[in-house]
Subunit: 538 residues, 2 copies
């Protein structure tokens, strides 16, 4: 099944993915966890039974919201509120699984267009209501939980009614997309016209165009199609102070590139209401294949050669020895023995002539770097299973596992040091309480000067798994900072990374963000606590 043919569905607030195709824990993965000594926790609380705080919105604020979007598009019911509670970090999930809905918004507002978004933000500014832009709801960094302090209430602003492919420019190869459009739906609409966006993050089944832009999403085909922030040509931001429209040419020498200030702003400056993105003729040829490298160093040297000297495949992904050994690149077989060594996946998309040239050049380079071809089998398994990985987390949590991911990026000369430092920090923290852990790693985004590192951690849950993970995560963050790497390659800042991010950009960097926020959002209502500490503005 191609990406554009996947179904669109409403995701459960603490169970990942399509409810029609729930995850199935491979026996081997369950056995692996049992061997680590996991003990199943109490069953997860049904969301209908989650405890939400009373809605505190003042009547005047409600009236203003109703005036902005119409009574039919302001919801206060339990179901709407619980479905806009938190994101998909493991701590967020654990909280909601125990029935703790304290992070629920007081109301959910569904504006129909840019002007209604402006009206909502104006109303919330006047009435001191915090606004959490909430679309796909897939944040894994606490990006969807407003700091309530000082506000009369919190609303979730769900842009799902802004869900159109507005226009397609086949000469410039750009499309104007609305923010509430789900990635799957955007692909389907573009596919009808013969195009693809080429953006396939792990959250593809649920995430939206606005979320991709606000959080600097990176898709699994980033080598071929670029990151989402690289695809955006123009954008419109609705702010409490009005409309900011940016982008007049692919590249400009006229001042700073302010588009890059809005991309990654995570709802803290306003709501992205439109983006113009580059699109590509849909590929008619797709080839995915697997390779085995002796070790991670050999595989990453080959990846570096692919990106520095070319040709660069559309997809390139390298699992380290640990990830390869538990077969994580094939979720249907996770936990069973992998190929040994390190598994690399390469993918080529385009016209038959394009993929032939790419594949021939890349094959020559990989073989010269000592790769052993595993054929198309592992490539297809990865391709068809690539959105299934996160489903396993829910089943692992059910049986007493603690699973979480984190990621970073650095320059090539620093990759080995960073990988070792993060791995050691995680294992030391988790081991301090006597828990055994598996720390798996892969590279899935490469650049001429460096690459991302993506870690998957599996261990047994302590009685307080949120605190347990908090300590491990803090240790990993410290290791990342001590290596001079970035606190996130594509998960974002949210609230979870905020303090480490402040160290990364320094006091003047934080000052810039505060100054921009004060300019666009003088009342500080936009996603307070995300990106920069709350209470610093207004």
């Amino acid at each position: 099944m191609t990406e554009s043919a996947l179904p669109v569905f409403d995701m459960h607030p603490y169970l990942w993915g399509n409810p029609q195709t729930p995850g199935e824990l491979p026996a081997a993965a369950g056995e692996l966890l049992s061997a680590l000594g996991a003990v199943a926790p109490p069953a997860a609380v049904d969301i209908a039974d989650a405890v939400l705080p009373a809605s505190t919105l003042p009547a005047a604020a409600l009236d203003a919201l109703v005036a902005a979007v119409g009574a039919d598009h302001v919801r206060f019911d339990h179901d709407a509120r619980v479905r806009h509670t938190g994101g998909f970090s493991t701590p967020d999930l654990i909280k909601l699984r125990t029935g703790d809905g304290s992070a629920a918004p007081d109301a959910v507002v569904f504006p129909a267009d840019h002007d209604e978004v402006l009206a909502v933000l104006a109303a919330c500014s006047v009435h001191h209501v915090a606004v959490v832009p909430f679309s796909g709801g897939t944040s894994v960094v606490g990006g969807l939980t407003a700091a309530r302090g000082g506000f009369t209430g919190v609303i979730a602003l769900d842009p799902r009614r802004l869900d159109r492919l507005v226009s397609l420019d086949e000469v410039s190869r750009t499309a104007v997309l609305q923010p509430g459009l789900r990635g799957v739906r955007a692909e389907a609409l573009l596919d009808e016209r013969g195009y693809t966006l080429g953006h396939f993050p792990q959250s593809y089944e649920a995430a939206t165009i606005g979320g991709y832009a606000a959080a600097r999403s990176a898709g699994q085909s980033s080598a071929g199609y670029g990151r989402f922030d690289e695809m955006v040509e123009t954008l419109t931001l609705a702010t409490p102070r009005g409309t900011l429209t940016l982008g007049t040419a692919p590249k400009s020498g006229a001042g700073p590139d302010l588009r890059q200030l809005v991309l990654g702003s995570e709802g803290a400056f306003g709501v992205i209401t439109s983006v113009t993105v580059r699109v590509h003729p849909k590929p008619v040829s797709r080839i995915f294949e697997g390779w085995r490298f002796e070790d991670f160093a050999a595989g990453s040297a080959a990846m570096r050669a692919l990106v520095q000297d070319g040709p660069l495949p559309t997809v390139v992904r390298l699992s380290d020895e640990a990830e390869t050994s538990v077969n994580l690149a094939d979720p249907t077989a996770a936990g069973s023995a992998g190929t040994g060594g390190c598994l690399m996946i390469t993918g080529y998309e385009g016209t038959p002539a394009q993929t032939a040239v790419l594949r021939a050049g890349a094959t020559e380079l990989l073989l010269a770097h000592g790769a052993e071809s595993l054929g198309e089998g592992p490539g297809e398994k990865w391709r068809t299973g690539r959105y299934r990985g996160p489903y396993l987390r829910d089943q692992l949590l059910d049986v007493g596992g603690l699973v979480e991911t984190l990621e970073t990026a650095t320059y090539w000369s620093n990759i080995e040091r960073l990988k070792a430092a993060v791995t050691e920090a995680l294992q030391a923290s988790l081991g301090a309480n006597g828990n055994q852990s598996l720390v798996l790693c892969h590279i899935s985004h490469v650049y001429a000067a460096g690459a991302s590192l993506y870690f998957t951690v599996l261990t047994t849950a302590d009685p307080d798994p949120v605190a347990q993970w908090g300590a491990a995560k803090a240790a990993a963050n410290a290791a990342i900072r001590s290596c001079g790497a970035t606190i996130s390659h594509h998960h974002g800042v949210g609230t979870d990374h905020r303090d480490t991010y402040a160290e990364e950009i320094g006091p003047l960097g934080v000052g810039i963000l505060r100054a921009v926020k004060a300019e666009l959002d003088p009342e500080g209502i936009m996603n307070p606590g995300v990106l920069v500490a709350p209470g610093l503005v207004a």
Copy 2:
């Protein structure tokens, strides 16, 4: 001669380029101008006779500057001041040619390192002295003339003592460069180690690394090596409030990309004191060749196919019919008849295998788009003559010509409309006084979604050529804005484009820049009047 072997020289303040190899006006170009009815103006005033204002710096400010950098590195003499007066826009040149040195700084300060830059900025903040970062001095948009209002004086900060290749990371393929390093010198230093930066703007003989970064320079090989703003991995900015260090990975999902806020800030936020840039193994194979297209539409369609479908050459440049007809791509023959139709230059650099693959693919595509091969002759003429074009301007001014360039960029579907609108606006404005004009255009930077348009205008000078050009430029700016294009693809904002730029980014965009400037430069001393209107900060 390759780029790394070019000499480093001090440029005259109103004569372009290497004083050892002054421009020679091709006879045909002179005849062309005579045919337009040019009348030679008075001879240019020797810079020793230029009239500079008395230096107004208060003694306390001088003492502080001397304390910051040492007495040997603060200069007040006529020569130092006049050599830091204005840039290379035609209005800047005309002013200085008439002996008007009113834009001269009161002093020129030469800090040795980052800490000395910080000390200079701190001293100037305390004493309310405006600071113009001045390195190559090649701004063509009034980027080097501080608004004096409210300040006790103006200094030029010349970073020429920060001129080192600090380090080279051969694994990540990055180099740490200081801002005062001239482009030519950077290439020579990298060449010794087997690398190239690949950045060759028209100002290459004079411009510096810091200027490239501060002004979002785009080089003639941008198709292959990218723009300068795309090459920068990390940077350090000295501001009046301290040091901002940005860049922890090639790409990050941690918040906005603040590097892109500093790139293009044109000295208004601080002084860039270090950049880490990507470098490339120096090419062993270089092939440049010429092509003839029936018309501009056919040529630009071929360019678009090269960048959208590939393979993209390292250099690609298309002259329109008018530019082709006066042979502007070969400055030694400018004014004589060109090839007819539209001339395209393509260049391929890399290993022999890389250039062979690129050239074969591009050749097939170009032939399919109706190109006629002109062989390597026109390609080599362009390559070897490519820095000589601006030399001709001085000779044309001598004989009563008025020559200036301007540039913009837009999306592919808007290219023809923009080109026609700017051409018509220029010709209408210049024709209103009865002057005949030539408006020539080329595309020299291409992107998947759009391209730049670079215009060269030649006409006869009125008695007040600054006012004459001012009117023409205003008409062109209005045409650019009415087409929704950017006011500059790579020349920048400076003071000349400031008002049009404000329209381009809107009041909230200007508000963001003001807020950032107020945060980093609360006294508003940094290049006041550049980028945003003066007096809006502090």
